[in-house]
């Protein structure tokens, strides 16, 4: 028995193949070209012919799949599993961070391709890392029917990797950003900046440690804002460029100094 899906895609195949041959002949092909995919002979308009043939090929493949899987009907699935009724094709999976992170990674890759190679590479790395995380999430979901157990297994496996990597990345980004800021400030300014930032961090930490009951969201928010602020400052100052480094060379007693002529 031919399934509806097979009829649909096979019909598209027939129509597309017919259209391809028709297009091939009517746009100036010879006798054999359109029927032999231009192996022997010629077709007229290559684009029309080639694309319609491609459609025919893909539709034919889909038709084969469809008949092989009997349209993916529930009855076919139940028979394959040997169960009374077919289980649902897809259970709801709940919230997930990976889609939006992956999309951001793809976005970074795409925009980076235009804007800057570094962004492109970062995007690629992010996509690859998220692919692994996403896979392991899927993996853990298929371990058992107990969501808590699955989540625990996933954490046990991935936390030892995630925490150091993320920690290193976070620290690295902060260090990079801060160093840009210090390089862009004047000689004395850098001292002031370092002192102020240090004091702010210290006081913040003291406040947080003194008040264990601060709402978690608030602490997270403050930390996030601080993190972003440092990164933004780093990007801005990196764009501004470093201060001038001069040296006065010369005799025995020459010292190596930095002056601020340029500022």
């Amino acid at each position: 028995m031919l399934t509806t899906g097979f009829k649909l895609w096979f019909g598209i195949f027939v129509a597309a193949f017919g259209a391809a041959v028709f297009a091939g002949y009517t746009s100036g092909g010879d006798e054999t070209g359109p029927l032999t995919v231009a192996w022997k002979g010629a077709v007229g308009n290559h684009v029309s012919y080639g694309l319609l043939i491609s459609v025919a090929a893909v539709a034919f493949g889909l038709a084969l799949f469809s008949i092989a899987f009997r349209d993916g009907d529930a009855e076919a699935a139940a028979e394959l599993l040997g169960t009374e009724t077919a289980p649902p094709a897809q259970r709801p999976v709940g919230g997930s961070w990976w889609p939006i992170f992956a999309a951001l990674g793809v976005g970074a890759t795409a925009v980076g391709a235009v804007v800057h190679p570094a962004v492109f590479v970062i995007g690629i790395c992010a996509v690859a890392a998220i692919a692994v995380e996403w896979t392991m999430t899927n993996w853990s979901e298929k371990l058992s029917g107990d969501r808590a157990h699955n989540a625990a297994q996933r954490e046990k496996l991935l936390r030892p990797v995630e925490i150091p990597v993320l920690g290193t990345l976070g620290v690295g980004v902060l260090v990079l950003a801060m160093s840009r800021v210090l390089l862009a400030s004047s000689v004395n300014g850098a001292v002031v900046v370092a002192t102020v930032v240090g004091v702010v961090v210290l006081c913040g930490a003291i406040v947080i440690s003194r008040n264990p009951n601060l709402p978690r969201g608030m602490v997270q928010g403050v930390l996030l804002i601080g993190f972003v602020a440092v990164i933004v400052a780093g990007i801005v100052t990196a764009a501004t460029g470093e201060r001038e480094f001069h040296q006065k060379g010369g005799g025995e007693h020459a010292t190596d100094t930095q002056s601020e002529d340029g500022h």
């Binding site: 129509a15 746009s27 009907d73 649902p88 094709a89 709801p92 919230g95 889609p99």
Partner: protein
């Protein structure tokens, strides 16, 4: 970081928004984002129509290049950033319900597709706004910005493809027992057909875009990345016949709504299946790439292009005839509605099919050689009519399924008014542009009289009509959007406001026995005959 910890930790509101993989939520995201870009595109359309009034010099825009950027942005935006996403949104929310599935297939990929599309749409729009877009005739745009637009377009295509794969897999694999593909509701069926053709054509558009992008990057283009060549390579995707493939699900919407409104069965279900498939086939427009014409065989003068256009007109006529026949046979049941008025979604469905018929008619006129319409504004007329039909169909669909999607009611009256405004607007644009096409006005008029073809006062008047139509269409879209916003705060909706026939209206789809394409109606009649 772990996904499952989200529920356990009591995720914050923001976390829940960005991590959702629920089909209904994603459908709303698509609808919301698509409607915003729709408004933006229509505003661009109004500006372009306004510019066309005074061909003496650029008034609204700074230069002819800028006009071209907005003129092409309007078409790209309308199709890939607005109408198709809106249809995808309706499908994402409704199709799983129609086939009785708890979730869309590959829910995380569906979410990923939406976000990719969203970021891509943002990138595309940014590219347009920073003097990029899809190139300009006088090579007056920023090359980096053009590259950014193309990259954004590729992400948009990727997002739509991913969403389509999710949708089609849901429709194929997610059906409950007894619901064969032949019995699925027609909206799902047209999504299946249209989705197949999206999978067959969007990659072609991607190939065109990649070729242009690679040739454009960082040096003088060899050929494909030349500023004045890019739009010509992509334009097939935004004109006849490809627009039929994008608009196709509107037919399913109409054929799902009308029989239920008439409390009647559809006489020739299988015929509709075949006709919609054929409409998909004739809507495969990727073969019509005039940029790659071999000298001597311009594709738009080929037999296949002509046959295609007339076939489309015939199919549209047959489909409209089928709808009219259903209306005729069910007319007796109409008076029983509230206030004896036919439901708004039904009215809009019929009007959408009418617009599709008009579009197909213009498409057929366009290929008649003696009329010489191919390069004229008739092309724009055909595109606007088709996309307008799809938009009105989507308006009908949101009015019809909105209660089920949002759980809140909206104003059917406002919905009807907005729909009528859009229909009138689309018709005004379509008719005016068709007529000015007969008078020889070019599809893209540029900023000079010479570029516009041979304009005379008649064309000027018609352009005023088209401008008014554009404004009306924008007003209709605004009304629709406002009505959608009202849904967020409306009163709770009944579970089955229309007395639906198909599974999306069932309280629990898994308990319904499916023996035909209208299981709920079967159950009702069975209960009636038993008592």
């Amino acid at each position: 970081m772990t996904d499952t910890s989200l529920e356990a930790d009591g995720a914050t509101a923001l976390e829940r928004v960005v991590t959702s993989t629920d089909a209904n939520t994603l459908g709303r995201y698509w609808l919301g984002a698509g409607s915003l870009t729709l408004l933006a595109s229509l505003v661009a359309g109004v500006l372009v129509a306004l510019e066309r009034l005074d061909l003496g010099g650029a008034e609204v825009f700074g230069s002819a290049d800028e006009i071209f950027q907005f003129w092409s942005a309007y078409r790209v935006g309308l199709v890939l950033l607005a109408i198709v996403p809106i249809i995808v949104g309706l499908g994402t929310a409704v199709a799983p319900l129609q086939v009785g599935s708890d979730s869309i297939a590959f829910p995380r990929m569906a979410a990923f597709s939406f976000w990719t599309w969203l970021i891509g749409a943002g990138t595309t729009i940014t590219g347009f706004l920073i003097d990029g877009g899809l190139g300009t005739p006088d090579a007056g745009s920023q090359r980096q910005a053009v590259a950014l637009t193309l990259v954004g377009l590729l992400m948009v295509i990727g997002g739509l493809l991913g969403a389509t794969v999710s949708l089609l897999t849901t429709i194929v694999c997610g059906r409950v027992a007894g619901l064969t593909l032949r019995r699925i509701p027609l909206f799902s069926w047209t999504l299946l057909v249209a989705g197949t053709f999206w999978l067959l054509t969007l990659p072609v558009l991607a190939a065109n875009a990649v070729l242009a992008y690679v040739d454009l990057r960082g040096r003088t283009a060899v050929r494909f990345g030349a500023e004045d060549a890019i739009w010509e390579q992509l334009s097939w995707s935004f004109s006849h016949p490809q627009v039929y493939a994008f608009a196709l699900p509107l037919v399913g919407i109409a054929f799902d709504i009308v029989p239920v409104s008439l409390r009647n069965r559809l006489a020739n279900h299988d015929v509709v299946l075949v006709l919609t498939t054929l409409l998909g086939v004739v809507g495969f427009g990727a073969y019509a790439q005039s940029f790659f014409d071999t000298p001597g065989t311009p594709v738009m003068y080929q037999a296949i292009y002509v046959v295609d256009a007339f076939a489309a007109a015939l199919i549209a006529l047959a489909l409209f005839g089928g709808l009219a026949d259903t209306l005729r046979r069910g007319a007796g049941n109409l008076g029983s509605g509230a206030g004896n008025r036919p439901p708004a979604p039904m009215v809009l469905s019929v009007l959408a099919m009418l617009l599709l018929l008009a579009a197909a008619a213009v498409g057929a006129l366009r290929v008649v050689d003696p009329f010489d319409l191919l390069a004229t504004s008739a092309t724009g007329a055909q595109m606007t009519l088709t996309m307008g039909a799809a938009f009105v169909g989507a308006m009908a669909g949101t009015l019809w399924w909105g209660d089920r999607i949002f759980g809140k009611v909206s104003s059917q009256g406002l919905g009807l008014l907005a729909g009528l405004a859009a229909v009138v607007g689309v018709l005004m644009i379509g008719v005016a542009d068709l007529l000015s096409g007969f008078m020889g006005q070019n599809d893209f008029t540029g900023a000079s009289l010479a570029a516009a073809g041979s304009p005379d006062s008649g064309v000027d008047a018609l352009n005023v009509v088209a401008l008014v139509g554009s404004v009306l269409l924008l007003v209709g879209a605004l009304g629709w959007f406002a009505n959608g916003i009202r849904r967020l705060t409306g009163a709770a909706a009944p579970a089955d406001p229309w007395g639906g026939h198909t599974l999306e209206w069932a309280a629990d789809a898994s308990t319904v026995e499916v023996t035909s394409e209208r299981p709920l109606l079967d159950a009702l009649e069975h209960a009636g005959s038993a008592s």
